[in-house]
């Protein structure tokens, strides 16, 4: 039998208080949460791209990526779409109510490894949540990274997440050496059209891959980081490969059913034969090289 020294129960969640709830869209809300335990508030550190299991007693838990990054977290921000049993229950909660949190889990993005390189972040819809943590980290440590380019695609102005923040970066981002490009799908979206009138070189109507036509993207010393709905990956990766990105210059973060978050419950298994991975433990961040070698990843 393997020798282990454990006393902590890794499946035991910690109570945390909902400090603030911001309505972002009809189906998405931003929850600001803080652990009740002072000790945990101080001890809890995480990397951009990691996730937590968020639970509501009597309903269950769901894996949610942390969408903020601060050196001393204190308050975690979780952007949650009301889409399943657990997330619907979370949406019914009010400020002051409890959420039960375990984590952080997963590998997160290799922020240190990417130091000295340019970053190209490509987000679709709710995929912007984990990339926002990457962006906050990179902006906080601005001198460690080269050029930062962000492609953010959404359906319509109303469904744009973190709208104020990203509109600010859309207008003023260049001062922080950040180029933000936006894409919207709804052709009749008047508000987006107005943005196009304001700064046409940075916004386009169509899917997020259309943004590749807007600017020259060079693979030279650059890492691409992608998060979006599963369907998006293949198309975005195709554009990157066309521009000579190597598979290991492309990072993806994946979604799966995850009950435990620690590589035991088995639901997030992916791959075949030589390469079987647990998305929760070996990921959720993988390179496109991993995806090429692990069948069914994207």
């Amino acid at each position: 039998m393997v020798r282990v020294e454990v006393i902590d129960n890794v499946l035991a969640p910690s109570p945390s208080r909902i400090i603030k709830i911001e309505k972002m869209t009809e189906i998405e809300r931003l929850f600001h949460v803080k652990f009740l335990s002072r000790d945990l508030v101080e001890r809890f550190v995480y990397r951009p791209g990691q996730f937590v299991e968020v639970g509501v007693t009597g309903v269950g838990e769901a894996p949610i990526s942390i969408c903020s990054w601060r050196e001393e977290p204190e308050i975690l921000e979780l952007c949650i779409r009301r889409v399943g049993r657990v997330t619907n229950a979370i949406h019914r909660l009010k400020e002051g109510d409890l959420l039960w949190i375990r984590g952080p889990y997963g590998n997160g993005f290799p922020m240190e490894e990417m130091e000295g390189s340019n970053l190209l972040l490509i987000a679709g819809g709710l995929g912007v949540a984990p990339l926002r943590a990457v962006l906050q980290y990179a902006l906080k440590n601005r001198e460690r990274y080269g050029e930062i380019t962000v492609f953010y695609g959404f359906k319509s102005y109303e469904l744009m997440l973190f709208r104020e923040e990203f509109l600010y970066l859309f207008r003023e981002g260049d001062e922080q050496k950040l180029r933000l490009y936006l894409s919207y799908e709804d052709q009749n979206d008047e508000k987006c059209k107005r943005l196009a009138e304001e700064r046409g070189e940075r916004i386009v109507q169509g899917v997020v891959t259309k943004l590749f036509e807007k600017t020259e993207i060079s693979p030279e010393n650059t890492y691409a980081i992608i998060c979006g709905p599963p369907i998006m990956y293949k198309f975005v990766v195709k554009e990157l490969i066309k521009r000579n990105f190597k598979p290991w210059q492309i990072y993806l973060t994946l979604e799966r059913r995850m009950r435990c978050g620690i590589g035991k419950c088995g639901h997030c298994i992916v791959g075949e034969g030589n390469s079987i991975k647990y998305v929760c433990k070996d990921g959720p961040v993988f390179t496109y090289w991993d995806a090429l070698n692990t069948k069914g990843m994207i």
Binding site: V2, G58, R257, G263, H267, I269, G271, G273, I276, K295
Partner: protein
């Protein structure tokens, strides 16, 4: 390794003395040719010449359905619960099942150890026993037909008793406490042990060629073979329940009538069921039976830090209600 002899006349006393380590569970006949590990108080209740139990011994370490927490929302409390007495003696476990537990140990104990599993594993005594392969056993091919560790005591039957291997400190403690019941092994016993092992190895009929299996599985991604078997498969998940290395679990909360207290329960899950790969919003990462069947075979045939997720016990073949033969599928995949 320490070797001892347990004479047949001492066997009963040895068994009785094991009761101080907890309840004893052994292989009991459950139907015409089926067995299960059940609580026993006498030797006669067991059939130690059993081929395999329906449900593998994993049930002693991860409950089929077990309460893991009781919660109280008002008091912001999550209280850990271990429902059963973790002190147990598993009597008569076969080598393949010992290997399966070693694999579960890797999953459950290395990195983010599972407390429930750990508590039970720490407190359980495993007494292994030699077996004779039937037509569905292929543990010899899987390298799991003999256990060199992972047990406390291992009994090999010889003409006038058992040749005993002591595999752990707990095992050592048991024989030390029962000193009077054991004899040192003589050269005749050693010869007999060797002969019986040789004879046992010759009894294996079923073989599976493992060389290149992982590549064969990957290369068979688009093979018709999966469609063929998915057509037969009922998607019932029996193969998962009877598999000694399958360990997927689901978690469910139950609320009491006061709506502020309740319990969190986990139960065995099955990758053959449709909802295994389903995420909120309705997207299913393994929506078809073909994908689920292929996933199961790939999971079993892949290496986990050098260990295969299959120990060759034959249960999935024996208990598949659709008659899917695990070895036959892999042979077709490999083109054997």
């Amino acid at each position: 390794m320490m070797y001892l002899k347990l004479p047949r006349e001492d066997f009963d006393a040895f068994f009785k003395n094991l009761q101080e380590y907890g309840k004893i569970y052994g292989p009991v006949k459950a139907g015409s040719s089926a067995y299960n590990f059940k609580e026993v108080t006498t030797l006669d209740e067991m059939d130690l010449s059993y081929n395999r139990t329906i449900v593998p011994p994993k049930k002693f370490f991860v409950g089929l359905k077990e309460k893991i927490f009781e919660f109280d929302e008002k008091r912001a409390e999550f209280r850990e619960v271990i429902e059963d007495d973790p002190r147990k003696v598993i009597f008569g476990i076969h080598s393949c099942d010992i290997h399966a537990l070693k694999l579960l140990d890797k999953i459950y104990l290395e990195d983010m150890a599972d407390k429930y599993y750990l508590e039970r594993r720490r407190n359980a005594i495993l007494i292994g026993i030699d077996c004779h392969p039937d037509e569905h056993c292929f543990c010899k091919s899987m390298g799991t037909s003999y256990a060199t560790d992972g047990f406390d005591l291992f009994l090999h039957e010889i003409s006038d008793g058992f040749f005993v291997r002591v595999g752990s400190m707990k095992g050592h403690e048991i024989v030390a406490k029962n000193k009077g019941l054991f004899d040192p092994v003589g050269s005749e016993d050693i010869e007999e042990f060797k002969r019986s092992q040789k004879k046992r190895l010759d009894e294996f009929k079923l073989e599976l060629n493992l060389s290149g299996l992982q590549d064969m599985l990957e290369l068979a991604h688009n093979s018709q073979i999966w469609d063929e078997y998915a057509e037969k498969c009922l998607g019932c998940g029996t193969c998962n329940l009877v598999c000694p290395t399958c360990r997927c679990y689901d978690v469910i909360d139950f609320v009491n009538l006061d709506i502020t207290t309740g319990e969190r329960v986990r139960r065995w899950d099955s990758c053959m069921l449709r909802r295994h790969g389903l995420v909120a919003g309705g997207l299913n990462f393994r929506p078809t039976r073909v994908e689920r069947l292929r996933n199961r075979f790939n999971c079993k045939g892949s290496l986990l830090e050098g260990m295969l997720n299959c120990v060759g016990c034959g249960r999935c073949t024996v208990y598949c209600p659709a008659g899917i033969d695990y070895v036959e599928v892999l042979r077709k995949i490999a083109g054997d």
